[in-house]
């Protein structure tokens, strides 16, 4: 009696990822590789989150989170990032459906909302620094600027990535390899939103109480 496997019962096309049907499509492999990179980015942020969680009480007589944070601005920032994630998703969907026009429109919305997030954040940082609450004031503020600033740098590089992708779509059209890079961009942009959920929960909502 021979050993029966699951692949004996289902068409090989349907047993993908369970050992049947041969190698996975390039799209799946590319998304997996990029996902590993994103997880390593989450590990990077976990170090910064840990530093902030440990140092958030060490204000050295300086201002505390509840004195500095403006939750109304944080809410607007959160909505900007969330809506830009939504438009980025719709843009990726338009690209999959070979609709370059709506891809460009959604990408423009994504860029504007992401840039609005960065402008609000930069003004917040500038206001804090002007009030004497810069990164060198206390261990709490060093950890705060490192964590939130690193997220801001990621958003900035996401915007550069977006411009680069729009340029590729315009120059090369929606070819399969351009679509795979677009998939990586949308994974990156959604992952930034996941990190922001951690930032506004741990830093702003818990810090402003």
């Amino acid at each position: 009696m021979s050993i029966t496997t699951i692949a004996d019962f289902v068409p090989t096309e349907l047993a993908r990822g369970r050992g049947g049907g041969g190698p996975a499509p390039t799209r799946t492999v590319v998304a997996y590789g990029f996902w590993i990179f994103l997880l390593s980015d989450f590990v990077l942020f976990s170090g910064l989150f840990a530093a902030y969680a440990v140092l958030s009480g060490n204000t050295a007589g300086g201002p505390t989170g509840s004195e500095l944070f403006n939750l109304r601005n944080v809410f607007i920032e959160t909505m900007c990032l969330l809506l830009s994630s939504y438009t980025a998703g719709l843009g990726a969907l338009s690209a999959e459906r070979r609709q370059p026009g709506s891809f460009l429109i959604f990408s423009a919305f994504t860029f504007v909302l992401g840039a609005a997030f960065l402008v609000i954040e930069a003004r917040e940082f500038a206001r804090m620094a002007a009030e004497g609450a810069g990164p060198s004031r206390s261990a709490f503020l060093s950890a705060f600027f490192t964590l939130v600033g690193t997220h801001g740098v990621h958003v900035t590089s996401g915007l550069v990535f977006l411009v680069y992708m729009v340029a590729q779509v315009v120059a090369k059209g929606l070819r399969p390899h351009v679509l795979r890079r677009l998939l990586c961009f949308s994974l990156f942009w959604h992952a930034l939103d996941i990190i922001w959920v951690g930032v506004f929960t741990l830093v702003y909502l818990m810090g402003a109480r």
Binding site: G47, A53, L187, T201, M206
Partner: protein
Amino acid sequence: MADVRLFHDRTPGVEEYEPTANYWSYTAGLGLAILLTIASFVVSQTNLLWPPGIPMGLIVLAFAQIGVHLVFFLHLGSGPDHTNNIIALAFGLLIVFLVIAGSVWIIANLNWNMMEMPR
């Protein structure tokens, strides 16, 4: 065709021959994420929850929202193409948990054992 349907466990919104989701799944994800964000802000600013439980409530809401993002925006699902992604995510979560919880635990313990600072 029962055995064929067995392998049709896909992410919400992923259509038969579409590699990604549809407008509806993104809109549902956006709606859920906005609701959870508003809930987080309300919980942190009011005494709707028992006050000592508010940080735990915020953590629960954050995890719920991260779950919404993973499923509706990143399209992480239980389908065969996602098996490796889920395993990698589980490992990533383990490392993130060890780094954050371990640091907080160790430093809290050190603070607890610290001698009174001479004034």
